[in-house]
Amino acid sequence: MDEQLREWAEEERRQMAPPGLEAVLLGKLRRRRWERRMWFAAPLAAAAVIVLLWRPVATVAPAPVAAPVVAVVKPAPVVVAKAVVKPKRVVAKPKPVAPEPFVAVGAWQAVEPIERGRIVRAEVPRATLASYGMPVGRGRWSEPAPVELLLGEDGTVRGMRVVPGFQ
């Protein structure tokens, strides 16, 4: 057993670390040495930044003021200025939106003048507005649009218009 172990040991002694390891370690050693030499670089840079930031603003010496020349001048007549009255702020009232004309509905080719009638508010599908060539607004297509319906004396709908301000 001792003989076999000796032979095994002789073979094992030939084992060495990979050749590239020495180069890797020497590279790290050089880098470490360089960092140690440049230890002052970081504090120096920080100090330079601080100096730049804290540099006092250059002060300009004030120009010498000339001695005042005293002259006797006749006082000007005092003029009392008129009080300036600020104009009142006028808030412009919103202009009333003119209602759209009624559009004839149904069998009526035109909305004829009627002696008495009623205007009622209702909601109709936007598709209805579109079918009469009326503006459908910017709202959702599925949402109904508010309109005013003109009812004649007999209760039939004569005309329709969108509610003023409808968009």
């Binding site: 057993m1 095994w8 094992e12 084992q15 370690l25 050693l29 140690r36």
Partner: protein
């Protein structure tokens, strides 16, 4: 510089002298690598351990002194710590106990035509780490029991008994193959 001892090179090492580092590295890398190789069974891991050991020498070389022990002992101590850490992490081996036996290898299955030396080479990695360690230090590196004991941090008597048991274990496992070959 080549003729100077490791301890004499310590001041130059502390200053980061490249030549001194190269001398110490070339002198000691083989032993550290072989120790790590025996303990881990992996060439890649052994390279990593060797690298860590010499990086530690770079970083802590200034703190070493001849009075506190030899550079070689210090390198082994660092290597041993690294190896134990790796073994604990990888769970390759449960413990460094003496009575634990590694997986058995049947020489008849794997080495029908191989000689006893090849079978011995295959059997050694199956020994418990404590036995592999004593083989690496006392047999491969030819250290004295005292030197091995300082590195393994056990009494000399323990080193002696571990070596004896390692040899007995190998002989026992090799016996069937030896009889067959005879």
């Amino acid at each position: 510089m080549v003729n100077r001892t490791d301890e004499e090179l310590l001041p130059a090492l502390a200053k980061g002298d490249e030549a001194a580092f190269t001398v110490v590295y070339r002198r000691r890398q083989g032993a550290i690598y072989r120790y790590a190789l025996q303990m881990t069974g992996s060439a890649e891991t052994a390279s990593e351990v060797t690298q860590e050991v010499f990086l530690a020498l770079m970083r802590q070389g200034s703190g070493l002194s001849a009075e506190r022990g030899s550079v070689m002992s210090w390198l082994y101590a660092v290597a041993r710590r690294q190896v134990l850490k790796l073994l604990a992490v990888e769970r390759r081996y449960e413990a460094m106990g003496e009575d634990e036996v590694g997986p058995m290898v049947d020489p008849r299955e794997e080495f029908e035509s191989a000689d006893l030396r090849a079978q011995l080479r295959a059997l050694i990695p199956t020994l418990p780490p404590a036995y592999r360690e004593v083989l690496a230090l006392c047999v491969v590196e030819e250290m004295t029991y005292g030197e091995a004991a300082r590195i393994a941090e056990v009494p000399e008597g323990t080193i002696r008994s571990r070596l004896h048991r390692a040899k007995a274990m190998l002989a026992e496992r090799l016996a069937p193959a030896a009889r067959r070959m005879a």
